[in-house]
Subunit: 287 residues, 2 copies
């Protein structure tokens, strides 16, 4: 039997997610044209699709069908896309470029960018509460995971992290504040991606706790790795991990977090290879 | 038996809604402080609470308990509050004042105002998917009404109306475009408020269709009435009903819409007095 190849896995799952996202966004073709275009631009070509792939990987581990996972996996990606559009606005990070192309507000103007973000966030919940979901997943489970996702995305999670990040700007930040921001701003969605996958797959309480901790460690490791990769082209005033503890200590922290990550899923055997592969990929980016 | 007094009804229901909103927002005290303050500022003291009261009135008509209705009624108000914060931002209407006090971004800065809007929208879905709801309402019904609300609030509804409104700015708009904007930007949430109340109350398909049409007529009447009230202090460039057809024709249109409104609920007897009273109040504002 061939060894597990994480690169092939990531590519295949990304294509699955992209096709589903495309299908779901077709509904927004009936929206006003500029809005639809800005929504599409915010989602495609997109990045690595880490969050939805992570949800698929966690779900597969417990035997969940892709059809059950994809609406929630894509909803998470829509939430991620909205957060990027709003984050790039002049009111927040004021970034003109995103992944090498003009940010949404540079393409469509600030008003439409703002509204496209709002529409994508709303669309995420539209998708998760759609009749398609209600027919295939137990409505009680659908409500539960939607609640977890709302919680992770809201003022106590991602948006809360953005708020503290904004307030910390230009100030001397300590490592506790930076971790607070990271755990919420990026970590919350990554954590919930893993949890929701496992929940939809019907993981028992103990397994779910393991996957939760895996997600926690992974989310923080991912953001510190991102800080390290950004350290070269640092934009002024942002508190980052390397700016406080230095590059070497940041790298060591990533590796330690990923070690804890892998430990949590040790007993799951080879079915957890995708979750392991995802963790290792994050580590390799900053070796 | 005393005659029905709509003023007392509105006052009592507003107080019910305000108390529930206060209770639900208590959870956001754990959010970063500036964010929590901006969220609270966006919701209190607030306006007339038309949308949640309408949902209560439609729900009561079909015998729904307040406990079942309030999470959804308040979620609609949170969505309304977020839309106002974002609408007032420089990227859209650039309004410094809202109900006579500084707009959110004037109080907290644009960044926190943007995030407070995002957090309120997310909180609305957090609330609708909360364990409290899952315990009291059939989860399938909860999913269905959440889907209707997401649909009304998103790119095909309220946000879509805002996008077309933005694009129409400074251009000559015809009455069809203005109605398109009104029906979505304001009408969609008012329409869905009435529908969801009736659905939670268990209205049959025929009754639901009547309540839907009542909500459609009411939503459009409400926005034209608003245009009329604003006609004195007109802000430049916005396409409004009176600016195209004149004040007299606008007033006549409101009265005609309200007549249709009342006709839809004629057969519901005196239990529909709150719904009638709400329609009449809108009409009396522009007599």
């Amino acid at each position: 039997m061939a060894a597990f190849d994480i690169q092939i896995y990531l590519k295949e799952r990304k294509s699955l997610v992209d096709r589903a996202l495309d299908r779901y966004l077709k509904g927004s073709k009936k929206h006003p044209q500029a809005l639809h275009r800005a929504m599409h631009y915010g989602v495609f070509p997109g990045g690595k699709r880490l969050r939805p792939i992570l949800m698929l990987a966690a779900g597969e581990l417990f035997g969940a069908r892709h059809g059950l996972l994809l609406p929630f996996a894509c909803a998470l990606e829509l939430i991620h896309a909205y957060s990027i559009i709003h984050d790039d606005l002049p009111a927040l990070d004021n970034d003109d470029l995103r992944r090498g192309v003009p940010a949404s507000h540079k393409m469509f103007g600030e008003g439409i960018a703002l509204l496209a973000g709002d529409a994508l966030l709303t669309e995420a919940f539209d998708l998760m509460s759609s009749p398609q979901v209600a027919r295939s997943l137990k409505p009680k489970t659908a409500l539960e995971v939607m609640h977890e996702i709302a919680h992770a995305a809201g003022g106590g999670g991602m948006v809360g992290g953005q708020a503290v990040d904004l307030e910390a700007e230009g100030r001397e930040a300590d490592i506790a504040t930076i971790e607070y921001i990271h755990v919420r701003k990026t970590g919350a969605l990554i954590h919930v991606a893993a949890r929701v996958g496992a929940k939809i797959g019907g993981a028992d309480a103990k397994a779910l706790r393991r996957i939760s901790r895996y997600g926690d460690f992974l989310g923080l490791a991912f953001q510190i790795a991102d800080d390290i990769l950004d350290a070269a082209g640092q934009d002024g005033g942002k508190a980052t991990y390397p700016s406080v503890v230095g590059l070497a200590a940041s790298r060591a922290r990533v590796q330690e977090l990923l070690r804890q990550c892998l430990k949590e899923i040790e007993l799951f055997g080879k079915n957890a290879d995708p979750l392991r592969g995802i963790a290792r990929c994050i580590g390799e980016r900053v070796l």
